[in-house]
Subunit: 123 residues, 2 copies
């Protein structure tokens, strides 16, 4: 695309973290649905789910592509899916030397978990 400037990363897709109430609380508005659906959609592919799980379960919540690219598809396909996950706000990436490390956005897991919360009475 372009040369890397001093800009670290500025929200590639949309804001994801604090988006919506639990699904069981009240009917989602069209806006809320448009915001939350892409997160589910991003995890709705088996390969992406494996990649995400591999990163999320990796030490430190991050992994380089070479550590997780054994999912049965070609390298460009892995790259494609990681990009999708990144665009959905679920992952961030950082280059360190030759390798690129992907990291799970922690707030995302919390947000999605809250969407599906079964009201465990933690109040």
């Amino acid at each position: 695309m372009s040369n890397a400037e001093a800009l670290p990363e500025a929200a590639p897709g949309r804001a994801v973290a604090p988006c919506c109430p639990p699904l069981t609380e009240r009917p989602f508005t069209a806006e809320e649905a448009e915001t939350a659906a892409p997160m589910f959609k991003a995890l709705g592919d088996p390969v992406r789910l494996r990649l995400f799980s591999a990163i999320a379960s990796h030490e430190g919540g991050e992994a380089c592509v070479c550590d997780i690219s054994d999912v049965g598809v070609s390298q460009p396909t892995v790259s494609h899916h990681l990009k999708k996950l990144k665009e959905a706000g679920l992952l961030t990436s950082e280059r360190r030397g030759t390798w690129v490390y992907y990291r799970v956005e922690p707030s995302v897991l919390a947000a999605m978990g809250q969407l599906l919360a079964v009201n465990a009475a933690t109040a």
Copy 2:
């Protein structure tokens, strides 16, 4: 498991409830990913997310189609999406007179919530 089904009524796509460990626990296998991804995929569409939320938040966790069909798409499209949610194991349906009532499968919310569990420091 307190539910002993006596009627051979269930004809869903696949078992959904107790499928997989948390995403952050260990890398998903191909099998686990193939099992869990359809649930996320089913919620990955804004219209389906609104329908699901409308049903889940409705009184008693169920609603007839006429109560939730105001999502901006045609009636066949609503029917199509409800079928998709049903095939994914997220909903069940029951006919009562003229109306068809859809209900959220409670174990599904628990299962998906567990997938996204953030390990609340149990060690």
